[in-house]
Symmetry: C2
Subunit: 428 residues, 2 copies
């Protein structure tokens, strides 16, 4: 690497980092980045990964991915979680904490890093955009490319976000399976089943629960979206009518459901009138509401991390797209693009056809795409045919990991550290 | 069927019912019963199924399975839940409610039912035993055969219970997947992850979470069993040490965990000091304990019905055994056996070899098999090598359902009712 520092005789290195909440397929994007970089060794030197995301760059704690075998890199495609470690760490604004940005550039310079690939959501695209700006202002040539990722599917411009399709598939399947269970039990036991899913600000994952049913008679009978203010009376009336008609009621509730005043129901439930902490999220809260108001026996499940790490039942489309955006990010860099990210462009829904497009980082940064009203039924409790047309292709196909001894054979990276070149610890 | 009533010229019919909590593979047992009966049409007439289990018999609400195609019956093998409906209904003792037993025999007589196949747990084996006795005392010839089923794995004598292996596989996989997620996030975010699993009285499912790790360094770092009295201080010390050493701590907790006084932790948590209801189960309670005592950021998941209905990731061994006990039940009946049930007999663990054995109904009825102390590590927080040897074969192999449009293609039965012959409604 020494040669790389003295001139352009050797190709410059790359830095790749995972950011924010991980998913079942973010490592497929890492696989796409590393395999594509390896296929272009004359243009890109070593791919360094940040140990725990951007913190790895700030602390000069880099992982040398060239020490990982081709088989290990390939196996990232079927391994959930963030293999290099992620971080919930948002760089402050350039004005407020210029030192962090300067430090990043110093570390990049020390390791002759010419390419910055940042794999995350809207916050991360904002960071990548700023890093691009500071590099330019400091006279350090740096290509900054984003790689979209979020199970929440709330990134604008891109048709969908890698990670979402798999969470959606997990929730749709789990809802269908649990519904068969309740249907069996309802006569003498459980009448209401509540599944709480992720999506703090957008109800895409909750909407995906709607795919479990083929018609409006099928479960789930009620979906509670963050986009629709929760109306207790209307909700209870719907549950009551459903139980009377079908014998049971299956409810999918987004963790982000709010009341008419905009308060999260889950937070409203964290303290009772005496200020005592209440355990549990919005799922148990909603379930308990049906018991206390309607006297119905309930069960509830909270999928939490299970829904975003369930690599065993990912959408094959999602894996392909996650890999494709990683690959495209490197190809964009090689094509001389900067401050952009690859996005998914839908060409048609049936048959499903998609291509990779391109968007400026700034167009994605700090924006949220919510579920449009036209995707939610008039009563606010279901998904429309338009929503179904949008969602259905995203959960298509199965892509099973290999198994050993009855368990998925997920890979662990060696994670060899890169020798530090700066003798300056950095305090965040 | 009229001929069947007048003599032995036609074979007698069979009654099959599902009982108690359903599983991902109970329909595979139904498939085994019906396919095997169909292969012996000269000995067994029509298989009637109880709509909602034994209630179907009491209310003379029978499903004519002969109206279901061979393809539908075959598809039961890959469909979770109880296709005919189950019931949580335990017949009272013969002394207290003889009328119910007499009614059963009346319905069986009206439909010339000579075989009673009851698919359930220890309560159901008790019921089957009593039905056998009353039949004999009423001079009505009836062959009563049990078919074991419970995700809790707490039936005695049988090496394992159909339904358990799949719940075990689901929990082991989910624990491994969530652990990879936490490992990615722990540096800046979640330090403790709690997965609550089923098992009110026995910790078999919780134990299965232990299969997620290959060594004691791997997640789960703590398993909380109903068999071990919960010791708050010891638990918190273990979590603290684990987070200091590994950076995070993954906990699998059985819903049935109790304190030293034998009280369920989950129930202790349902009311606070002022008598206010607390939402949530033992999972959130344990998670909140680590936050309040140790200041750790947590996430928790409650799998609930998802773990017992996840047909998408069943154990192939479990499916085979569930089918095998259904098939064996019919074969036992044809061989003239009565008041017995087929059980799983382990011949060897490595390689795994099993056969079908036979046990009297009375030996299973109302008994519980707990996790033996030798299967739990000395500190009470993990599983031993002996436990691993026992559990590992039970989650072996994958048996994926067919998919359509990204979702498992589960079957729905036609459920054609059998014309009633008694003109007496029965009040429970």
């Amino acid at each position: 690497m020494a040669a790389a520092k003295t001139g352009r005789s050797s190709p410059r290195n790359a830095f790749y980092a995972q950011s924010g909440g991980v998913s079942a397929v973010i490592n497929a994007s890492a696989c796409g980045v590393i395999e594509t970089a390896r296929a272009h060794r004359r243009q890109i030197g070593t791919v360094y990964a940040g140990r725990h995301g951007i913190l790895g760059a700030l602390h000069e704690d880099l992982i040398d991915t060239s020490r990982e075998s081709a088989a290990v890199i390939r196996a990232l495609r079927h391994t959930p979680g963030g293999a290099f470690g992620s971080a919930r760490y948002k760089l402050a604004s350039l004005e407020r904490n210029r030192a962090e940005y300067v430090r990043l550039i110093e570390v990049f310079r020390a390791h002759d890093i010419g390419y910055f690939f940042y794999n995350g959501g809207n916050d991360s695209m904002d960071t990548a955009q700023k890093v691009s700006e500071i590099g330019r202002s400091m006279g350090y040539p740096l290509t900054c490319i984003g790689i979209p990722k979020t199970v929440d599917n709330d990134l604008p411009i891109t048709d969908c976000s890698p990670g979402f399709g798999s969470a959606a598939k997990y929730v749709a399947i789990s809802t269908r399976e649990a519904a068969l269970d309740i249907a069996s039990m309802a006569r003498t036991s459980t009448k209401v089943f509540v599944l709480e899913v992720m999506g703090r600000h957008a109800g895409w994952i909750a909407a995906a629960g709607g795919l479990a049913g083929r018609s409006s008679a099928d479960a789930p009978h009620v979906i509670l979206f963050p986009e629709i203010a929760f109306d207790r009376d209307k909700f209870l009336a719907k549950v009551k009518a459903t139980v009377e008609r079908r014998g049971y009621c299956v409810i999918v509730v987004s963790e982000g459901v709010r009341d008419a005043a905009g308060r999260f129901l889950a937070e409203a439930g964290t303290k009772d009138a005496f200020g005592h902490a209440q355990l549990g999220g919005v799922g148990p809260l909603i379930a308990e509401m049906t018991r206390s108001a309607l006297g119905l026996k309930f069960h509830w499940a909270v999928a939490d991390y299970l829904q975003r790490s369930a690599r065993h039942i990912v959408s094959a489309v999602d894996v392909e797209q996650a890999y494709a955006v990683g690959k495209a990010a490197v190809e964009f860099a090689l094509a001389g693009k900067d401050a952009v990210l690859p996005v998914i462009v839908r060409r048609s829904s049936s048959p499903y056809r998609w291509t990779i497009g391109e968007a400026p980082l700034g167009a994605i940064a700090n924006k949220e795409k919510k579920v449009p009203r036209s995707f939610i039924t008039a009563d606010g409790f279901g998904i429309t045919a338009a929503c179904r047309r949008y969602l259905a292709p995203l959960i298509e196909g199965e892509d099973y990991p290999p198994y050993r001894g009855g368990l998925p054979d997920y890979v662990e990276i060696k994670g060899a550290p890169v020798r530090k070149r700066l003798n300056k610890p950095f305090v965040l």
